[in-house]
Symmetry: C2
Subunit: 586 residues, 2 copies
């Protein structure tokens, strides 16, 4: 409890002033305790071990040479470590962003060509610039427009697309196919032509990774190994697979004898900074892709950061996160990398391995820089099938089909959103799919609020008025009190007007309508206009409009309007009971 309190006290101190708000590393660097160093060091190295094969595999998924994934894991990682508000988030290439890069760039250039790389760098710059703008303008809240069912369906469907996309590397045959269904069908028909050595290496890697994750982890835990050691060993599985794969291919020269596709020579050294050539037409073509990457990557990344931070009672600043991720992507564009973001599994490993501050990520970046400077020749014989297997196992845990069933139980509209997004991603592609999902969820919300619950209430007892349908209440033929359970805005004002006019038309002796505003949180000018209109319509047919229980902010708006001047202050009552009293009914 004492430790938690310290963290809490630290969090209280952080609501960051001036420079420290925009350069969060000033907070932890100045107060860095030497005692934290071993923990950050171990976490940094564990994460690097995990990131090396992952970043090469995801680069392959994005249609880029493997070193681009490594470049994206050095400078951008360090920049995020300095500017981000999470000490645990591990930034770098991730699966879904990589697929989005492939989707955005592949229609414009052939994968592997210099122009393809140039466009991927430009895309990173655009993604970075967009995030920076949103962060500096403190507009991060717009990213909340991606709802949970949309993100869940998008993630599951994308993972399936990614998994199917890896089959060509596992089988060692080329697979075309416009859609995931065509590709799957082709994979089945071409199974007989599969490269046996490649398939064996790939399946062996999948088996090894699954064993480490699902078989070895419980065993090691049962054996009483410390949690840190378990994390270290399980996270090392992909690296073990990489080393094993390299050795097998190199010793048997399977690349020559059996036609196993390998990564090939990787240039040594770190990419020097350079500005990607930016043409307006290219930027226009890449814009939807950049927008989709920003939408998806930021939401996921901030959710991960927040989840890890809350365990320590720390607070994540979403706008500063946007700035940090934006700067990381801009530097990715300059230093030969491609769009990066915070990865879920990698960040969890980083946190489990003990990362306390951004220093852990700085150490990861340094480790990868060392690899790039001195050890790239080692990866020449790395079979592509090993990387594909790494991706396959990583993304399969993203497919979650129990989620929609749970959503279905509580909310059918949200379940429909899930299904539409899932199908849209599979059929229309990953980029269109996310936009369809966001559009559907927004329309569904507007649809809900556009038909608000409207209750006619009657007098129950004392000053209490309740729905006439649910309670035995007193009513009068000359007066009707109506409660609207929603804020009044353009999408529901006409529904409201129709409903009220219907209520009036049904009551021939009606003389007074009391509109109860207890659930109205705000009112816009369309609603004001409708109220004014309604007032005139009611007056023309001999009915008086009254208001009651109007909230403060709504009253502020009303009092500035012509409507209230026209209606007269005497028609506004503090409570429904006051209104009834004023009209002489109680």
């Amino acid at each position: 409890m004492a430790a938690t309190s310290t963290v809490r006290a630290a969090a209280r101190r952080t609501p960051a002033h001036g420079l420290r708000r925009y350069l969060p590393f000033l907070n932890w660097l100045a107060q860095y305790r030497r005692a934290d160093l071993p923990s950050d060091l171990v976490a940094g190295i564990v994460t690097a071990i995990m990131l090396i094969p992952q970043s090469m595999a995801y680069a392959q998924l994005a249609g880029l040479p493997p070193q681009v994934g490594l470049y994206a894991s050095v400078v951008p990682l360090a920049i995020y470590a300095l500017l981000g508000t999470s000490g645990q988030l591990s930034v770098g290439p991730v699966a879904i962003t990589s697929l989005l890069v492939f989707t955005a760039v592949s229609p414009l250039a052939a994968a592997g060509s210099p122009r393809y790389l140039e466009l991927a760098l430009l895309l990173a710059l655009m993604v970075g610039a967009l995030k920076l703008v949103l962060g500096v303008a403190r507009l991060g809240v717009v990213l909340n427009f991606i709802s949970h069912p949309v993100l869940a369906a998008f993630t599951s469907a994308s993972a399936l697309i990614i998994a199917v996309g890896q089959l060509k590397y596992l089988l060692g045959v080329s697979l075309g196919g416009e859609t995931i269904f065509e590709t799957l069908a082709l994979a089945f028909t071409r199974l007989p032509q599969a490269n046996a050595a490649t398939l064996t290496i790939g399946l062996a890697t999948v088996g090894l990774l699954l064993f480490f994750r699902h078989g070895l982890r419980p065993l090691l835990r049962k054996a009483g190994l410390p949690a840190l050691a378990v994390t270290l060993i399980v996270s090392g599985a992909p690296l073990i697979a990489v080393i094993g794969g390299i050795l097998v291919v190199w010793l048997a020269r399977l690349d020559l004898s059996a036609g196993v596709a390998i990564v090939g020579a990787i240039p040594a050294g770190i990419a020097l900074p350079q500005l990607p050539a930016a043409r307006f037409a290219d930027m226009e073509a890449l814009a939807p892709g950049a927008l989709a990457i920003v939408l998806v990557s930021v939401v996921e990344s901030i959710a991960v950061a927040r989840s890890l931070a809350s365990k320590r009672r720390q607070v994540i600043d979403p706008d500063q996160e946007l700035i940090a991720l934006g700067a990381a992507n801009v530097t990715a564009g300059f230093f030969g990398g491609y769009p990066v973001t915070g990865g879920f599994s990698r960040s969890v490993v980083n946190a489990q391995a003990g990362a306390i501050t951004g220093l852990a990520s700085l150490i990861t970046a340094a480790a990868i820089a060392l690899i790039l400077l001195f050890f790239t020749p080692l990866f020449t014989f790395l079979p592509q099938a090993v990387l594909a297997a790494t991706v396959l196992v990583a993304v399969f845990s993203l497919v979650d089909l129990r989620e929609p069933l749970q959503i279905m139980r509580t909310n059918r509209g949200d379940a429909a959103t899930w299904l539409i997004t899932f199908v849209a991603v599979l059929v229309l592609g990953i980029e269109n799919g996310i936009f369809v999902g966001v559009g559907v969820s927004l329309l569904l919300y507007l649809w809900r609020t556009s038909r608000p619950h409207i209750a006619v209430v009657g007098h129950l007892e004392g000053e209490t008025y309740r729905n006439i349908l649910r309670h035995k209440v007193q009513t009068w033929p000359e007066v009707v009190a109506v409660r609207i359970d929603e804020s009044l805005y353009f999408a529901n004002t006409r529904y409201l007007e129709d409903a009220l006019l219907r209520i009036v038309a049904e009551r021939p002796e009606l003389r007074h309508v009391v509109l109860i505003g207890s659930a109205i949180n705000f009112i816009d000018s369309s609603a004001l206009h409708t109220l004014e209109h309604l007032h005139h319509e009611l007056r023309d047919s001999g009915v008086e409009l009254h208001l009651s229980e109007i909230k403060g902010p709504v009253m502020d708006r009303l009092s500035k309007s012509d409507f209230l001047r026209d209606l007269g202050q005497s028609r506004v009552h503090r409570s429904t009971h006051d209104a009834m009293r004023a009209l002489g009914y109680v």
Copy 2:
């Protein structure tokens, strides 16, 4: 009062069963009282007198020959009279829809060409089909997504574009210009080349129309003429201008001697039904135009119908209106017309002239059919400048710049929406402008609800809890009660989570958080997910989450969720006071 009661009683009877719901004319035709006939007859003829020049003028605005406007005012008018729920709404060509037709069709074909006409007919069919689908599916509510500021700005900006577009007819010179600004500039520079006779006729017509409207009307009223006579004379002004223009040109043969552009020979007779050739590529190209026409015309039309109906305590059924307008447009497409809708000024004249039932519109349609059958040769010498002047005077009353000032006073966000829509229509064009406006207003609404008002409350007295910022209330360091003034859905859940975690981080001794749901009208699955997440985060840092004052429908959702199972029923309290009592504070 007795008369009103009769109408009210009639309205009560109308909530239409079976066939009568879809064929509303069965209601009024069966009960038709001979006493209403003179009134309907006069209204029908007055409206026809107004509609003849208007329909030709608007056809010219739409880039179509004048008889197409007349065709659109016969069968479609009769169809609406039979299927519509308003006895006063006068359907036919209107200014803004005509401009939208021009905007949609002119990029695809040259105005005046057979293909242009074919596309206009196809567009009418598409508009009709879309309205029918929306009406039959009872989806008319989606049209409410066009807010008052958007419609107001759109109408004013469109009227300006229409007015500027008429200058070429008034000056008798051709004016190009991509935008309204270029066209205006060209009009100024080409003023010296204007056709003097044309300009004189045009300005004289404008003068005559303005005099009838603003000078003669008050004079006649002062002279004590009955209201009906005043309406008849003032509505006849355009027809008087048309007759005067024809006589002047024909007598002096100004078309030959002075180069005054005339309407030319109009084929006699009513167009026979035929199906416009529909190619998929054309339909695709016309789709945004059809959508824009549906959005704009239905909202305006239903607003007019509702306004006129409410004066008689009648109720308009918006979905049946969609069906009636849809059928009118489909027949417009078959019978050589173009997209039609309910016109504001014309419907008001129809109502003022005494229209009681749809019979008035049937009489109008019959009168225009007579013109088409026997009197079209009379219009050969009609100067185009007279029609242009008619349009100019009609649309100028649509420009309303006091409106945004009034909106500004009550709501800055809505004022911004007005301004963006207005500028977008002028700069991006009428079609894109309406979509930009709708998009902006939706985003603005989502933005508002995405940052809900959150109040920390304390104990005031008895069972009352109030905002700690506004009242002197009792609080405790170990418990915080938070009220959220908005429904919980995906766009605000993350804001809420941030706000709550911040509240927790600021209070080191906190043990309990009570979430007050009195202003939460519904909850979606993203919000449920966030609450679950929040519960775990709080639990991890030693804080208990409690709920109080949850509304019925929200509780229904919660009780089906894993969240509530996980949280436990004991954490849900009827009132905030109950929660505080259970925790032992009061």
